[in-house]
């Protein structure tokens, strides 16, 4: 625990502090820009793009060694990965537009083929004389062991650019995600905006390669947005809270992994992110599972309350256990099932409202009002007191229920 707190407050050494700050920056950029993947329902395209980075890493290494440079130059490797990732992205887009393949099939094809090529290249590199110490397999799941100051700078600059681009493009990207037809009709080039969105994601993927690796970067792009969605109904809030959730996951995840030996950073970041997601899934106030269960139970109780009162009004016996429980709880029936005074009064009101609705349907021409009858909506919410008085005039004097 001490080790974790140390890491959390940047006290676990230079390397750990670099990793923590880098992961937080990357988390923010990935969370904010990834929101549009989620909103546009194209999460898996980013998986194809991420896997398509691998051949680029291998090719860049081979090219740099062949030209006599240090094959491990991060900028060179990232540039290579960006090239093949872009090719993968264009291929997915082209295949789903120009052939009869659906997008998921195109994603599957590009993802596996590019990843396969990448693995073959890595194997070839292993057999090269300079290849042994390359450590390129770190790009699969990320590796923070040898993280340098300049690696953190790459993440900081790349991440800031991605966040700035997200800010500038947020309106067109939101519009295209919500209503692409309207966007096209208003003169936005939907294809270009989609490409811009995917390029952003590609940029984040590339700068995140070193830290979390290509396999898990998708989680950093998608999970924060999905988590944020549980808490808000506004797209702008989703974007920036996803950024914050991503940053928190990145930073806390990095601190946890720094606090013990042999805890891999990328996977731990993803697990922290998943923990935030799980908490939101269950406990978010409006959209969470717990809230949904409570809402459903309350609604069910309302239905049983109303049906119970109607049964009392008709003087029918009630057998349903939940109905008995709800009516008993509200003091409308005694434990032996006989209606109390309050119960009789409410039952009479309910029975009268039902007759009012019947009259309303006959005399009222506005179907949109009478159509609001659902058994539960109080008639007072739909019609004015004057109108209800009219219905009462048609019905006649109130009659007592239960012979009282």
């Amino acid at each position: 625990m001490d080790a974790f707190l140390n890491a959390l407050f940047l006290g676990a050494g230079y390397n750990a502090a670099l990793v923590g700050i880098g992961a937080a920056l990357l988390g923010f950029a990935a969370g904010a820009s990834g929101t549009f993947l989620f909103l546009r329902k194209r999460a898996l395209v980013s998986d194809a793009v991420a896997h398509a980075t691998l051949p680029g890493v291998g090719l860049a290494f081979i090219a740099m060694v062949a030209l006599g440079f240090d094959g491990r130059s991060l900028i060179g490797l990232l540039a290579g990965s960006a090239v093949t990732a872009a090719i993968g992205l264009v291929l997915v887009e082209w295949m789903s537009r120009k052939t009869r393949l659906s997008e998921d099939a195109a994603i599957g094809a590009v993802l596996s083929v590019f990843f396969g090529i990448g693995i073959v290249l890595l194997t070839i590199i292993q057999t090269m004389s300079q290849g042994r110490q390359a450590g390129l397999e770190g790009f699969l799941l990320g590796s923070t062991a040898g993280m340098l100051f300049q690696d953190a700078v790459v993440i900081a600059i790349g991440g800031s650019l991605a966040v700035a681009a997200t800010f500038v493009l947020r309106r067109p990207m939101t519009l295209v995600a919500f209503d692409p037809e309207y966007a096209a009709a208003s003169g936005y080039d939907v294809r270009k905006i989609d490409l811009a969105m995917m390029s952003l994601v590609m940029a984040v993927t590339v700068i995140g390669l070193k830290l979390v690796g290509l396999i898990l970067i998708v989680a950093m792009l998608i999970i924060p947005a999905v988590t944020a969605r549980f808490w808000t109904e506004k797209s702008d809030t989703v974007i920036w809270s996803a950024g914050i959730l991503g940053a928190v996951s990145g930073y806390v995840g990095a601190a946890i992994s720094a606090s013990a030996p042999a805890l891999p950073t990328g996977p731990i970041i993803v697990l922290v992110s998943a923990a935030l997601f799980t908490f939101s899934l269950f406990f978010a106030p409006a959209r969470g599972v717990a809230a949904a269960v409570i809402r459903r139970q309350r609604f069910q109780a309302r239905v049983h309350h109303r049906q119970g009162l109607l049964a009392l009004a008709r003087q029918e016996p009630i057998h349903d256990k939940l109905t008995l429980k709800v009516l008993g709880r509200d003091g409308l029936i005694r434990p032996d099932g006989v209606a109390t005074d309050a119960g009789r009064a409410k039952a009479a009101k309910v029975a009268r409202d039902e007759r009012r609705w019947d009259v309303a349907r006959e005399v009222h021409k506005d179907v949109s009002l009478t159509g609001r009858y659902d058994g539960l909506t109080p008639i007072e919410d739909v019609f004015t007191p004057d109108e209800i008085a009219q219905f009462d005039a048609v019905i006649g004097k109130p009659t007592a229920v239960g012979g009282a």
């Binding site: 909103l39 329902k41 500038v168 493009l169 309106r171 067109p172 939101t174 519009l175 995600a177 919500f178 209503d179 037809e181 309207y182 096209a184 009709a185 208003s186 003169g187 969605r229 808000t232 109904e233 506004k234 797209s235 809030t237 989703v238 506005d366 179907v367 949109s368 159509g371």
Partner: protein, 273 residues
């Protein structure tokens, strides 16, 4: 028409093209063909929509009604044909057009509120970076008020009924302050109060000299709501004022056997010429 306008490719089956001033019509389509795959959804269609008029695009399912609008706006690509908006090419006249897509075309669980949807209608004017000001919000609220939805401004759009959703879409179009309004099935699946509210707003636009074009499916309301009709079944069947073009003969030609004679009789139309 200007000299650069290409010859019409439309096949008119010997009927004369209606002679109106096409040059600056709100929307003029010439020889447009649109195809999904290798079967044309719209084939070689000419159409002209007038200012100060409400026009219904009528035809059976799959006849290309919505496709005609979408292709005219460049939402789906055209295989051939020319489109002009108030005499100008589409690209330079975007700001004069407001489009209301079908309600079912979007995901209503999208995280956005009613007023944010209406503000989308102002995005073209606000640009990328400028903040949305109080004036923009006031404008959006005013547009919501015109369709009776101002009280719902902060609701999540998924909580609205179908009719309310349709009114929000119309409100977004109003926010654009356009001259040409193109609506795709605005009355599909909405309640009577919404239908009334929409018709009132469209009638006010028409009175202001705007052009209103609706893809419409309810033949019973054509005569009372619209001035002009455009009948289409892949090809143009007829167009013109309701009193002239909305005839039993033209309806038969449009719907073929899909519309029973008894149904057409119920519409109580003027006898065909």
């Amino acid at each position: 028409m200007t000299a650069s306008t290409p010859l019409s490719l439309a096949a008119n089956d010997g009927r004369p093209v209606r002679d109106i001033a096409l040059a600056d019509a709100p929307l003029a389509i010439r020889g447009m063909t649109v195809s999904y795959g290798e079967k044309p959804a719209v084939f070689s269609v000419d159409a002209t929509f007038e200012a100060g008029k409400m026009t219904a695009i009528i035809g059976p399912n799959g006849a290309g009604k919505s496709t005609l609008l979408k292709a005219a706006l460049g939402v789906v690509p055209r295989l051939s044909g020319e489109v002009s908006v108030y005499g100008a090419p589409l690209a330079t006249a975007r700001d004069r057009i407001a489009y209301v897509p079908q309600r079912a075309s979007v995901d209503w669980d999208f995280p956005t509120t009613v007023i944010d949807v209406v503000l989308m209608g102002l995005y073209r004017k606000t640009g990328l970076l400028s903040r949305l000001t109080g004036a923009h919000k006031a404008k959006a609220l005013e547009c919501l008020d015109r369709v009776g939805m101002a009280d719902f401004a902060d609701r999540q759009i998924g909580q609205l009924s179908g009719g309310q959703q349709q009114r929000v879409f119309l409100s977004r179009a109003l926010a654009q302050d356009a001259d040409l309004y193109l609506l795709d099935e605005p009355f599909a699946g909405v309640d009577a109060a919404t239908e009334r509210a929409i018709i009132d707003v469209l009638a006010a636009l028409k009175a202001d000299g705007k052009a209103v074009v609706c893809v419409h499916h309810d033949l019973a309301t054509v005569s009372s709501y619209f001035d002009n009709v455009f009948l289409i079944n892949v090809r143009r069947i007829a167009e013109g004022p309701v009193t002239e073009a909305f005839t039993p003969e033209n309806l038969h030609a449009t719907y073929g056997g899909r519309l029973a004679t008894s149904h057409i009789d119920q519409l109580d139309l003027v006898a065909g010429a």
